[in-house]
């Protein structure tokens, strides 16, 4: 076990006036475990609370109750070596006024590396994610979406964290770029022994990258698929609906004989 999420609850105040306060519960007791070296998919539609859950795990949002427990091996590490994140919206994920080089070296600030070592590391990382070293002097608006998301990935893996949260990391990309970025992620996971929590609404993408899938609806985990070969045997009603809809949509095109 690497990360254990235990009965997380989170609600937000709605209609925040002085006289009347009601709260909307976004997360209704979420528990699951992430094991070392796996990619766990968290599948849910927009508004199901999956991004809020992501923020709770990252520690930038406090849960009302429940806790996120990290394995002993990593719980004492400084946070930049413990975890990292890649967001969906790559344009707001980087400061538009910084160059690629500065963006990627942000997580290296707290390491012991010398200035030259950091530069070297940035160069290596750029090549690692399939960009060229010459891109380090560019500004974000001079890069395409796919390139920018690669920069975000480079930044995420820079301090060699144990665990990376991918919050819809490929959802804003074109299909042809999606596949490339997913392959890159799979490759990096293999080489650096990373663990991913992959938040997405797209089941084909989840099936492509993940070892296990949690289906998330309305603030709760409604189905846990530990072996994707059993994906079709989901028991929960919503999960069934979702899977059959997705299968219906994708089937016609992949089976041209029909």
């Amino acid at each position: 076990m690497l990360v254990s999420v235990q009965n997380i609850r989170k609600s937000f105040a709605v209609g925040d006036s002085w006289f009347k306060k009601s709260r909307h519960e976004v997360l209704k007791g979420v528990s699951f475990e992430l094991f070392e070296g796996e990619c766990l998919g968290l599948l849910g539609e927009s508004g199901s609370g999956k991004s809020t859950l992501g923020k709770v795990i990252l520690g930038i949002e406090n849960p009302d109750s429940g806790e996120v427990v990290f394995a002993d091996a990593i719980s004492d590490l400084p946070s930049h070596e413990k975890m990292s994140v890649v967001f969906q919206d790559y344009t707001s994920s980087v400061n538009p006024r910084l160059r690629v080089e500065e963006i990627i070296s942000e997580p290296l600030l707290r390491t012991q590396l010398t200035h030259a070592e950091k530069k070297q590391k940035v160069n290596e990382l750029l090549v690692e994610v399939g960009l060229s070293e010459s891109m380090k002097t560019r500004f974000p608006h001079q890069l395409s979406g796919g390139q920018l998301q690669r920069v975000c990935i480079a930044r995420a893996i820079a301090p060699s964290p144990k665990f990376i949260l991918l919050d819809e990391a490929v959802s804003s990309l074109d299909v042809s770029v999606q596949a490339q970025v997913l392959d890159l992620l799979a490759n990096l996971k293999q080489r650096f022994g990373l663990s991913y929590l992959f938040i997405t609404h797209d089941i084909t993408v989840a099936a492509y990258l993940c070892n296990r899938i949690l289906i998330f609806q309305d603030g709760k985990v409604v189905e846990q698929v530990d072996d994707l070969n059993n994906l079709a045997h989901a028991t929960n009603n919503y999960a069934k609906q979702l899977l059959s809809a997705a299968h219906f949509l994708e089937r016609a095109f992949t089976e041209p004989a029909a």
């Binding site: 923020k55 990252l58 520690g59 930038i60 400084p78 946070s79 930049h80 975890m83 990292s84 994140v85 967001f87 919206d89 707001s92 994920s93 980087v94 400061n95 006024r97 910084l98 500065e102 942000e106 997580p107 600030l109 707290r110 930044r155 301090p159």
Partner: protein
């Protein structure tokens, strides 16, 4: 930022005029033909001549020299007020926006309270309490303007605090000063520049108005507002006496406002795309 500013014609002309005034103020003792406070009783209301390029006033003092030395009081005190307001406003705004919670609430409600009074009334009553003098003017303008800056900077900080790149920094717990100098300042700077360049004209006017009313700079220190005030007594006989300080104030304030407008245009995020 500077490059962009210089590429715009209006902005660069405004900057040129303002820097010309600033330089003239700094080198006033060198370029002024006379001591601004030296009255020559033979030169009452002297007409324009080589010796007195803009003539002399009712005490026989050189008007040009007084205008040049007036830059030092009016423009420089305005800049000083701006500088103090900006730095204090930025610090409080960032604290309020970044820390949030109760402290933020207290700061914001205080700002609301200060903003409930019109700026002019606020300044006048503060000077009433503090007594006339340039220090009171600076303090009064500072207090009247501060809440605007605090509010604006706080709201920018909150806006940038929700940007993914700040969320990322929070996740890996980047040191605060990195976030401050790399993420917040460069992004807020343009907004500060807009507000500051719009407001500097307001402060110049405020200093001049108060001196005109006799609440500001002590006589005989040359100051444009007090020059106006002195000239108004001879308005019927020597109307040109009022024109010189009046036109100077107008040029400087109009330049500041124009600069503010073009800075705002330049940094409008829509124009950037």
């Amino acid at each position: 930022m500077m490059k962009k500013l210089l590429a715009n014609r209006v902005a660069s002309i405004c900057l040129l005029i303002l820097s010309a005034f600033t330089l003239a103020g700094i080198f006033a003792p060198v370029i002024a033909p006379h001591d601004p406070n030296l009255s020559d009783f033979t030169k009452f209301f002297a007409p324009i001549s080589w010796e007195y390029p803009l003539g002399a006033d009712h005490l026989g003092r050189c008007i040009l020299s007084r205008l040049l030395f007036g830059i030092r009081t009016t423009l420089f005190y305005a800049f000083l007020t701006m500088l103090i307001t900006l730095s204090v406003g930025t610090v409080i705004g960032i604290i309020s926006g970044y820390i949030g919670g109760k402290l933020d609430n207290v700061i914001m409600r205080t700002c609301d309270m200060l903003l409930a009074f019109p700026s002019e009334v606020m300044v006048l009553s503060l000077i009433g309490v503090l007594g006339p003098g340039i220090t009171s003017i600076i303090i009064a303008n500072f207090i009247a303007k501060l809440p605007w800056y605090v509010r604006m900077i706080r709201s920018s900080v909150i806006r940038f605090n929700h940007q993914n790149y700040v969320l990322y920094s929070n996740t890996i717990e980047t040191r605060f000063h990195y976030k401050l100098f790399r993420h917040f300042f460069p992004n807020i700077a343009s907004e500060i520049a807009i507000l500051a360049s719009m407001d500097i004209g307001w402060i110049i006017l405020s200093i001049s108005t108060l001196s005109f009313l006799g609440l500001g700079v002590e006589l005989p220190t040359p100051e444009w507002g007090s020059m106006l005030s002195e000239a108004k007594d001879v308005l019927l006989t020597n109307p040109e006496q009022m024109m010189y300080p009046g036109v100077t104030i107008m040029i400087v304030v109009a330049t500041c406002n124009l600069l503010g407008d073009s800075v705002r245009e330049l940094f409008d995020p829509k124009a950037q795309a």
